[in-house]
Symmetry: C2
Subunit: 355 residues, 2 copies
DNA sequence: TTGTATGCGTTATCAC
DNA sequence: GTGATAACGCATACAA
């Protein structure tokens, strides 16, 4: 835009060398208070801001990291991202966000770059590290090409994956205990006497879904209950899909309760049940696996699992920063999901105080 | 992480000069097909990715822009951001997101930098342009310090503000027609015979609220209706606040309808009305000024305004890219808000119309 | 405490 | 077509 000032011009105007200016800029103690004052004054008067590019080139540190995720409008990802950005800012790091839109609401594949294209960008930008969550990284079958690109990236910078572990990479993982969550939810339903429990939403072929579905089947078996295919309806993670999936369910024999993949799907299901003239929890109980910001305010409130996403984000950042700094990363335990009682399963809530 | 390859090493291995490598990298036509093939091969085999830092230093183009907003978990901002990121990716630009958390749900002021601190970062990072929305930029009274910092930023790069216009800066604006939206909503209520209409949510002192509130008062007057203070309850933009604000409203004399600042507040209000044993729209009708992804699935569906946020984002990006390229920015008309009929006002659906 | 010289990895302007 | 070489703006050993 404008001919930006350089360290040379500051040095000249302050009658010192560029080294001295550099020292002042970086708060080095090897400058006399007098000179520092003079230089700082010149800097301020000129609104001089040193080029992060030049600095990065010289130090090979960019102080920025990347986050690659499919869809920032999904509350799960935005909550995660918020926390990551916050931690980064605290440490003086900037965050570049790459929205791959893989599996997004609008399914705008074509318009968006392939995920591994973003790896190349991260490489060129000399980011100091990358956090990946959702998208290809969460597929049951990860393509060889993708894995190769991932490992190439990993060779150049730390990579932390928020999601389920898989073989074939040296990336670090921050894992959610999906099984534990499903267990809590199903046990709750079991305690309430439910024996016909369905599964609603999520995409087949995606870990967050297939792992939960596996847990669902296993735990159902442990409870001595059958898993009936007619009670299982995949779709994806968004509200309209929850609606559609429940409509589908309503065509067949009804379970007495369903486990929804998250609160968006649950919300869609609630609406579908209402439209069918059925009431919750009398006609069907509902539990969700992932709490979003609105679950306590729907009618009825959704009984759901708090996955502690902000702790998850903080953990991922701690791990990433540890790797960047080369420090011994203390492997803090991943957050435990907690069941948050709503009204969608029929338990009586005490007078809950709001506001 | 690793000793990265440079253009020199590629040149050496390919037995050419760095100029030639650079030409190949940038697809210059002034290279013989033969040499190009050789060089490209060496590049590929070495997984060489040129440093964006060095390139940026040399060309003074970083191909990245910044977005400064208060809270990415707010669906309004995330929808906007998604679109911005998408447009940027299409043009080969990266986006750095700065979450200032000003006015955010969690109100974590202290942990976060002041907004103008991000201006300095944008300057140092040599971003090519910045989009700002929400936060300080949207206050009724913008502090002189902030304005000064903003103008300093503006002097160095294009700045596009998504929000209401104000004096004292040379930034570009992408404006929403808040008044038109309020008009559509209130007319709808008026047509249904409502004469006691309240205002719910939003923060006093913030343009998006105060401008809508002004419009509300003016239009009410035009309709020959009184604006009663007991029907007005500010708070902020989130679900719990909508709940609290409606609880507050329920203590006094009731309006027959309320205008909520957005769907989150509306959702909270729906729940509060339900908890009080009141039904919508029989006991109170509800319209919201900002549609979020869940409004069609709540019980009842919320009659709300589609502000066409993705078009807004696209517009902002078009303007920013125009400024960056120095091209004549065609001032496309800002998107018109449209009323989306739900069930919260009592009209029969099936006759869904859009305006 | 301050200054000098060099490197960082590109692009661009020249010659050839 | 191709190849030197000078910027680009900073940090940093090394000198003084």
């Amino acid at each position: 835009m404008k001919g930006k000032k350089t360290i040379y011009q500051i040095a000249e105007e302050a009658q010192v060398s560029i080294s001295t200016v550099s020292r002042v800029l970086n708060g080095s103690p090897l400058v006399s208070p007098r000179t520092r004052a003079i230089v700082q004054d010149v800097i301020d008067r000129n609104h001089f801001s040193p080029s992060a590019l030049a600095r990065g080139l010289s130090t090979s540190k960019t102080h920025s990291i990347g986050v690659i995720l499919p869809d920032i409008t999904n509350p799960y990802f935005s909550a995660l991202f918020l926390e990551i950005e916050r931690c980064a800012a605290e440490q003086g790091y900037s965050v570049v966000l790459y929205n791959t839109m893989y599996g997004s609401y609008s399914r705008d594949f074509k318009k968006s770059l392939g995920e591994s294209a973003y790896f190349e960008i991260a490489l060129e930008e000399r980011l100091e590290g990358v956090i990946i969550t959702g998208g290809q990284i969460d597929m049951d079958e990860i393509s060889a090409d993708y894995l190769k690109a991932l490992n190439r990236l990993r060779r150049e910078m730390p990579v932390v994956i928020i999601g389920q572990e898989f073989e074939g990479s040296s990336c670090d993982f921050v894992v959610r205990d999906l099984e534990r969550g499903v267990f809590l939810a199903l046990r709750h339903l079991g305690d309430l006497g439910h024996r016909r429990i369905g599964f609603l939403g999520g995409e087949p072929g995606v870990r967050v879904t297939s792992d939960r579905f596996k847990a669902y089947k296993r735990i159902l078996a442990d409870m001595g209950l059958a898993c009936r295919p007619t009670y299982v309806h995949f779709s994806d993670y968004y509200v309209p899909s929850g609606y559609a999936a429940m409509r589908e369910q309503l065509r067949g024999p009804l379970p007495s309760a369903v486990l929804a993949i998250n609160d968006m799907v649950a919300l869609g299901a609630v609406r579908a049940l209402g439209d069918a003239g059925l009431s919750i929890p009398e006609d069907m109980a509902l539990v969700s696996c992932d709490q979003f910001f609105f679950s306590e305010y729907t009618v009825p409130r959704i009984t759901t699992l708090d996955q502690q996403n902000s702790r998850l984000g903080r953990l991922a950042m701690a791990k990433l920063m540890g790797l960047i700094r080369g420090a011994p990363e203390e492997t803090a335990a991943p957050p435990e999901p907690r069941l948050v009682l709503g009204e969608s399963c029929g338990v009586k809530l005490g007078t809950r105080s709001f506001e």
